[in-house]
């Protein structure tokens, strides 16, 4: 392995206390406390979940290719939409960001490793168990969760399949994992920075992750509390969400979205960070408006706590409430606009080149903005009564999550892959992957705007005939996007296998501490703190 040179220099002094290379065999992965190993495991886990959730999405799209029921039963269809959402949110996007944080944060701030390595190992290894429990429910009597990823009570309590208890414990475990990951990130960033790395010099990926970690600590316990209330309603005869016992089902929605809205920013803030690293590299300019980016990110995080009820305009909240949540939601467009402006201003008059990470990042800026605009449309309370629970909502959040979060993760992977593996990936294959994905997702999700505005409800296995053409187009796009991800796997695997030695800086315009390390970097990133000017 790459660590041999370091091992030789280190053996003389540290032989007896620590060994500086990875352990042999499988135990390396089970017992590792190394941030790179754990980051790698997070990323592979996330990829596996992305493929699993993707297969579920393809089952949904296959059923929706034509009106009528073709392939799967409505109840199984509901399980597929539910599990697709849960797995993509908690299994694919969030672990991928934690994986990137594990790999990059110590290298970016000049630390040898994460602050709490054992906790790090634990927070990863909880996840495979959590998702095994979750996926297991599909094979139980009555099937898996079929109440939508938002699991509104009483659908998820009184009328839930018996397997809902497993779902609740799986959510508890994911929550514990995320909270431990977040604690680790905060402690690392606040306590382990190299001398001279003041807060306002932190790379934006680190900044956005710091804010994300605080969001996680603030809202994941709320989610844990919420599923605990469900558990008590189901098994201990409490009535948090049951009107018969003096509870209120609408309360469920308030608590869920009090968690849920910050959660959507948890899934996009690290993406902002990644894109803010990549665009300056390939525009060969400094990031425009660094400090405004930091303040914009913080404002978005703050605003995310006071807009939750825009998800529930139609439950019957009073007019003043509708107005407050409508305007507070629209306010988020301001800091988001600042960010988009800064990215465009960074590219403006830069000497741009269009390697794969840059292509994904530019697609991110453009398509995320489209998702943002449809979000603004949904924020208009009177109009939302028309859009609520239609495919327009589905189009909106897939535009911010797929070409938003997922594209940024892919951009980040292509950007740092040569650093991680020491090999360049195949640029031509990367570009083919990008273009197929780009075309695929637009064919999939753009027509959903139209069927949504025309009134097609979401979460239905069958639909009225007038929506048939657009749904067929969507399904074709989904299969194109889904299968082009096999190229992504091929690209990553061949990059790991094929020797094509990457330089330390990897990219001509790269900047930051991680590029001062060798490619691949030593097992422990910075054993002596680097000097930061």
């Amino acid at each position: 392995m790459s660590t041999t040179t370091e091992q030789i220099t280190e053996t003389s002094k540290a032989d007896t206390e620590h060994h500086h290379g990875p352990a042999k065999g499988m135990s390396r992965w089970f017992f590792t406390t190394n941030h790179k190993d754990i980051g790698t495991m997070y990323l592979w886990f996330s990829l596996a979940m992305f493929m699993t959730g993707g297969c579920m999405a393809l089952m949904v799209r296959a059923e929706l290719f034509q009106p009528g029921l073709q392939f799967i039963e409505p109840d199984f269809f509901n399980q597929m939409t539910t599990m697709h959402g849960l797995i993509m949110v908690f299994g694919a996007v969030m672990p991928a960001f934690v994986g990137l944080a594990n790999w990059m944060i110590p290298m970016m701030i000049g630390a040898p490793d994460m602050a709490l390595p054992r906790l790090n190992n634990w927070s990863f290894w909880i996840l495979p168990f959590a998702f095994s429990i979750m996926l297991m429910t599909l094979f139980m009597d009555g099937g898996g969760p079929n109440f939508g990823w938002t699991f509104y009570a009483p659908l998820s309590t009184t009328f839930a399949p018996p397997s809902v208890t497993y779902f609740i414990f799986a959510v508890h475990m994911m929550g514990i994992s995320s909270i431990m990951g977040a604690i680790n990130v905060i402690v690392t960033i606040l306590n382990m920075r190299a001398p001279g790395m003041i807060m306002m010099k932190l790379p934006l990926f680190v900044w956005t992750w710091l804010i994300t970690a605080f969001l996680l600590i603030l809202v994941m316990p709320i989610l844990a509390g919420l599923v605990t209330m469900m558990l008590m309603d189901i098994h201990f005869s409490t009535s948090f969400f049951s009107a018969a016992g003096g509870g209120d089902p609408v309360l469920f929605q308030h608590i869920f979205w009090f968690f849920g809205h910050p959660e959507v920013y948890i899934m996009i803030l690290p993406a902002f960070g990644i894109v803010s690293e990549i665009i300056p590299t390939f525009a060969r300019k400094k990031l425009f408006g660094y400090s405004s980016m930091v303040y914009a990110t913080s404002s978005i995080a703050f605003l995310s706590f006071i807009v939750w009820a825009h998800h529930m305009f139609t439950v019957g909240i009073p007019l003043m409430g509708e107005l407050f949540f409508m305007f507070a939601t629209m306010l988020i467009a301001v800091p988001t606009g600042v960010k988009v402006f800064n990215w465009v201003a960074t590219m403006f008059r830069g000497s741009m080149t269009f390697e794969t990470p840059m292509l994904f990042s530019i697609a991110f800026v453009v398509l995320f903005s489209i998702g943002g605009f449809s979000g603004l449309m949904l924020a208009i309370a009177p109009a939302d009564f028309q859009y609520h629970d239609t495919y327009f909502v589905v189009a909106h959040f897939h535009y911010v999550l797929v070409p938003g979060s997922v594209f940024s993760i892919m951009a980040g992977v292509y950007y740092w892959l040569p650093k991680w593996t020491g090999n360049y990936y195949d640029e031509r294959m990367g570009k083919i992957h990008f273009w197929l994905s780009f075309v695929g997702i637009n064919i999939t999700f753009f027509p959903m705007h139209f069927v949504g505005l025309a009134g097609m409800p979401r979460r239905v296995p069958d639909y009225a005939l007038q929506f048939a053409d657009f749904n067929a187009i969507s399904s074709v796009g989904a299969f194109l996007f889904g299968f082009s991800q096999l190229l992504f796997i091929y690209n990553v695997v061949s990059c790991i296998r094929k020797r094509n030695q990457a330089s330390n800086r990897v990219w001509e315009g790269s900047h930051g501490l991680e590029w001062t390390l060798t490619s691949p970097p030593p097992y422990h990133s910075f054993t002596t703190p680097p000097k930061v000017d």
């Binding site: 709320i222 209330m229 016992g245 209120d248």
Partner: protein, 183 residues
């Protein structure tokens, strides 16, 4: 090492934050009730039987409508004996609802009231109501369930009609569990 001490301090603070937020999640339940109470939204009605308030009679007449709703899967027949009444503010009236257990099993029901418009909720006083108690019915049994109420004279003038709706819930399972615990 001071770094370990630093880590410990920060981790402790973050863990306290986590536990506090877990508690805050539960605190949202009463907070939500308090918020609805203060702002008067959500049309929730006080379920405790209130003391009889001496009310000033008024000549103002309004209409009160009675609605009966069966919660999903509740198999009883449930309806008001009269669909609506013309009433004078400040005067006490009586009405009733009819319930019949159509199944061949003993069942227990609980009625949950709701008032609309929500501004009227605080002026509608229930002196006695079948919703204060559980309603057990044997198989096939029928019962007329009483309701005594008045509407306070101070109610805003723009309200001309009040709708009082009861939703009937099946609580047989919960109440037999409670009985078993008592014995």
């Amino acid at each position: 090492m001071s770094q370990t001490a630093n880590h410990k301090k920060l981790v402790t603070q973050l863990l306290i934050g986590t536990v506090a937020m877990f508690g805050f999640g539960f605190a949202l339940v009463p907070l939500y009730d308090v918020f609805c109470d203060i702002t008067g939204i959500n049309g929730k009605v006080d379920l405790t039987p209130g003391k009889y308030l001496a009310t000033t009679a008024s000549q103002r007449e309004i209409k009160i409508q009675f609605i009966a709703v069966n919660n999903e899967t509740m198999p009883w027949a449930f309806k008001p004996t009269q669909g609506s009444m013309q009433i004078k503010l400040g005067k006490t009236y009586q009405s009733s609802y009819l319930a019949k257990n159509l199944t061949d099993k003993y069942m227990v029901a609980q009625a949950v009231p709701s008032v609309s418009p929500f501004e009227a909720a605080e002026y509608l006083q229930k002196v006695d109501c079948f919703c204060f108690n559980r309603q057990p019915l044997e198989a096939g049994e029928q019962r007329e369930m009483g309701l005594t109420f008045n509407v306070l004279a101070g109610m805003p003038a723009h309200i001309k009609t009040i709708t009082l709706s009861y939703t009937l819930f099946d609580i047989t399972a919960a109440s037999s569990a409670a009985l078993a615990n008592n014995q």
